[in-house]
């Protein structure tokens, strides 16, 4: 991979020469700092001086932030990779082939995928640390970790926002989606590689913005940013809106890229009937992103205007209820954006591990598509405490029937596993655990869909337990399954089965003991967003915290194990799982190009009744140069 940026222009590498340059990430940070100072000063000192003239005002920080993010993107390489070539300048920039390529703008979908994965892990660690602080606080019924409830609530907000927008919606889509989708559909690149390169660098910017929000002031709303509280809170909420804007923009660009890749970059013979299950998952989830992310961005923009101008659209003199509605109109599809990739992974990995043909494939696809459609019709079940009686019945109805298409994922898996030869590898184990966890999340979801029950358990820890079952339980467990399943693809190396299994059982037990008790806490009267609570709830909270901390340690150990095996694991063959999908039909890791010749697909990928390959010709790419 000598120089992707020059390849795009057709320049030959001989014309390029190296110029001394700061590491792109460092340059991006410096440019961002300069841009922030210039634009912030311009607003707060020149254009919009406030009484007592503070150096940083809400207006100046907003404009300064926009400038800083643009400068950051330019600094990490968009300047050389996109802007200058657009104006016809030759690209004098060589892309390194070693680890440094992961720390700069790239147009290679595999580099971008891994960058997304690293960004997501970073967000997971930061937001997970916030969760540990929260659980530590809740071990005691009084304030003892935090000095005031506002600090606790800001932590809750950072935890939820970073987890949702940089892990839940990104880990499997921006990360695994970007890396695998072009490989799975038999293409050497994604549809919009340059845009895709830009979108990744919005993720660290967004995470940093949300994490730095307490610099501007506390915000107490949690990740939902409910109005009118948001407009009443100190200025930290400004960085919530801006950070989320960066993260959702990134996901939107991923969605455009993945949709176009799946629609237009498929190899010959890869008909709609043969699209891999994971690609179906990415397609449905990308359509959800395309529909709903612009909607919530507009809502947050109105909220931001409310905080900056002010523009009291959602306050007491406006309509607070409207904010709740536009938030959940996006908010419920959002949780399916998180979990639909997990459904797809179950159906992707288990036929391979069982070496048995996928059962009732069309019903699995119907399930994914109908979950996507119905997810936009159930949103108001987050608001049973806010709606008139006549609205309860339809929303309850749609919420209950979304269990039917969701159940199809189970139907497919059960039929596939029946009389299979299931290898109990770490990915298999994690997928089965994920299915168990989602079952608990789903069953409690049926309870929550019933309005009379909902009116009791809404906004209690019952709900907290329910959505952590669907997000950690289903999505994060499947995320780890994906790490283990595709680790040989990323690195050509295998993890340790023993450690993988031990750690998986560890997180399974810690997760279930912690979160099952949260259901009971909710039923016993534990409400949400409280660092201080009645003393009778303390003993169970103590146990929950203990197991939550064990869960956190388990996650860290998983990452350490994966990181160790990334460099030191035993080498394996190219297709260690004997999968028939396209990404395994080339070298692991793939060479300079995914496929030296674009494969021709001649049959479906999930038929294990014989040993015939799904592709017509040998499509091996070169072995990686300077293989590790």
């Amino acid at each position: 991979m000598s120089s992707i940026a020059t390849d795009l222009l057709g320049d030959s590498p001989s014309q390029t020469h190296r110029r001394p340059m700061l590491p792109p990430v460092v340059r991006g940070l410096i440019w961002a700092l300069i841009a922030f100072l210039v634009f912030n000063t311009l607003i707060s000192e020149v254009l919009d001086r406030m009484p007592y003239h503070p150096f940083v005002t809400r207006a100046s920080v907003t404009v300064g932030w926009v400038a800083a993010v643009c400068a950051w993107l330019l600094g990490v390489g968009v300047w050389e990779g996109v802007v200058k070539p657009s104006f016809g300048f030759p690209t004098l920039w060589e892309t390194p082939t070693d680890w440094r390529k992961y720390f700069m703008y790239s147009t290679d979908h595999r580099v971008i995928g891994l960058q997304y994965i690293f960004s997501s892990i970073g967000g997971f660690m930061i937001a997970g640390f916030a969760a540990m602080l929260m659980r530590l606080e809740l071990m005691n019924q009084n304030l003892w970790v935090f000095s005031n409830p506002g600090a606790y609530l800001s932590t809750v907000g950072i935890h939820g926002t970073v987890m949702m927008f940089s892990v839940g919606t990104v880990g499997l889509v921006g990360g695994f989606g970007n890396y695998l989708i072009p490989l799975m559909v038999g293409s050497n690149k994604s549809a919009f590689p340059r845009m895709s390169g830009i979108s990744q660098w919005l993720v660290p910017a967004g995470i940093a913005t949300v994490v730095l929000s307490p610099v501007l002031g506390q915000w107490t709303t949690g990740w939902r940013g409910y109005e009118p509280l948001a407009s009443q809170d100190p200025a930290g909420i400004v960085f919530y809106y801006l950070g989320v804007f960066a993260l959702t923009t990134s996901s939107l660009m991923v969605a455009i890229n993945l949709t176009a890749t799946i629609l237009f970059k498929r190899a010959p013979g890869l008909t709609w009937n043969r699209i891999p299950m994971f690609a179906w998952g990415m397609l449905t989830v990308s359509l959800l992103n395309l529909i709903w992310l612009p909607e919530i961005q507009m809502a947050f923009l109105l909220g931001l205007l409310g905080a900056v101008i002010p523009f009291p659209f959602f306050t007491q003199v406006g309509s607070p209820l409207t904010y709740l509605e536009v938030f959940w109109l996006f908010g419920h599809p959002e949780v399916y954006i998180v979990v639909v990739p997990a459904f797809a992974l179950w159906q992707e990995i288990l036929p391979v591990m069982g070496q048995k043909s996928l059962f009732a494939r069309q019903w699995g696809i119907i399930g994914l598509v109908f979950v996507m459609i119905l997810s936009g019709m159930v949103w108001a079940h987050h608001m049973f405490t806010n709606m008139s009686n006549s609205q309860m019945l339809p929303f309850s109805f749609f919420t209950e029937i979304i269990s039917i298409p969701t159940g199809f994922a189970y139907l497919v898996v059960i039929g596939t596993l029946w009389k299979a030869r299931l290898r109990l590898t770490t990915p298999t184990l994690l997928i089965l655990m994920s299915m168990f966890n989602f079952l608990i999340g789903g069953v409690t979801g049926v309870l929550l869909a019933d309005p009379v029950v909902n009116l009791q358990v809404h906004d209690s820890f019952f709900v907290v337990a329910h959505f952590h079952y669907t997000i950690i339980g289903a999505m994060i467990f499947s995320w780890f399954a994906a790490f283990y399943y595709w680790l040989p693809k990323f690195t050509g190396r295998m993890y340790s089965e023993r450690w993988g299994k031990v750690l998986s059982v560890w997180i399974f037990i810690a997760f279930n003991v912690a979160f099952l008790q949260m259901f009971l806490l909710g039923l016993h009267g534990m409400n949400r967003w409280v660092p201080v609570y009645p003393a009778y709830l303390q003993p169970m909270n103590f146990q929950v915290s203990l197991f939550a901390i064990l869960l956190g340690i388990g996650f860290v150990l998983h990452f350490l194990h994966i990181a160790w095996m990334w460099w030191h694991g035993p080498r394996v063959e190219e297709n260690p799982w004997r999968s028939k999908t396209l990404e395994w039909q080339t070298a692991s890791p793939p060479g300079e190009e995914n496929f030296t010749t674009i494969p021709t697909v001649v049959r479906g990928f999930y038929d294990y009744s014989d040993d015939r390959s799904a592709v017509a010709v040998d499509v091996h790419s070169d072995a990686p140069k300077g293989a590790r």
Binding site: M392, L422, M435, V453
Partner: protein
């Protein structure tokens, strides 16, 4: 065939054990502590759904475990399964039929039936003898006002808000969110949530709207008997949110009258 029988036996046994467990929980109390008819309705809906879902959950869990153990690959070799099939019309049809039927059942009962109970409880013709309690939520305090008895702000001897209710009576809570001490501040109102855990229902209180919540108390109890008999804010409303609670006392009609008199005296002094 042996596998189907083996699975069916495991499933039936697990379901039976699960049903025993659920009925034991239902004989106890799913909601831990209840003090209103509405809470009992909710609790029985909860129990009914659990009871119906036990065989469904058992089917999936036993199936996953059965597949995992019975059909696991032995040895290191990767061998294709010798049994291969792509679909099974009977299984798929039965699966879809059952999921549709179970969902329609849940929609009719308990969803629609329990909601009908709740709607009926709110009908004006049933509620002529209601005790009206005006509940005002401000940051961060509950204020209780009894308009039928001219009590503008119910408080204990220390001046903390307290709620007394007569037992076996329908209570109409009139819910508003604003700050009566700072009415000039249009930004003071935020969303609060009115919840008495032992009463089994809650409602959000949105600034600018007046909302109603009906409860029929069914026993004499108080915050001192069980801490679930308290008013608790459930919608995050700023840093004071965790402290926004008030004790509730459900007393006999006579004790309620006594309390009214003492409040009226306290108010005049």
């Amino acid at each position: 065939m042996a596998d189907i029988v083996g699975f069916a036996v495991a499933w039936i046994v697990t379901s039976a054990l699960g049903e025993l467990g659920v009925s034991a929980v239902r004989r106890g109390s799913i909601y831990y502590y209840t003090a209103s008819n509405q809470a009992l309705d909710g609790e029985s809906a909860f129990g009914f759904i659990l009871m119906m879902l036990v065989p469904v959950v058992a089917f999936i869990v036993v199936m996953l475990l059965y597949n995992m153990i019975r059909f696991r690959a032995r040895g290191k070799e990767i061998v294709r399964s010798h049994v291969q099939f792509y679909t099974n019309k009977t299984f798929v049809t039965v699966w879809i039929a059952i999921s549709v039927v179970v969902n329609l059942l849940f929609y009719l009962h308990p969803t629609a039936s329990a909601l009908e109970q709740m709607f009926n409880g709110e009908e004006a013709r049933y509620n002529r003898q209601d005790l009206i309690v005006n509940v005002t939520a401000r940051q961060w305090q509950w204020l209780f006002n009894y308009p039928q008895y001219n009590i503008t702000q119910a408080a204990d001897a220390n001046g903390n808000s307290v709620m007394f209710l007569p037992a076996d009576r329908t209570i109409k809570f009139v819910l508003r969110s604003y700050d009566p001490f700072h009415t000039y501040d249009a930004n003071a109102g935020v969303i609060h949530g009115f919840w008495v855990p032992a009463f089994g229902l809650k409602q959000d209180i949105i600034p600018g709207e007046t909302r109603y919540l009906y409860i029929h108390t069914n026993k004499i109890t108080s915050y001192d008997v069980n801490p679930m008999v308290r008013v608790q804010c459930t919608e995050v409303c700023g840093p004071g949110h965790p402290f926004m609670e008030a004790p509730v006392h459900v007393v006999s009609a006579r004790d309620f009258q006594k309390w009214i008199v003492s409040q009226q005296k306290q108010q005049q002094s």
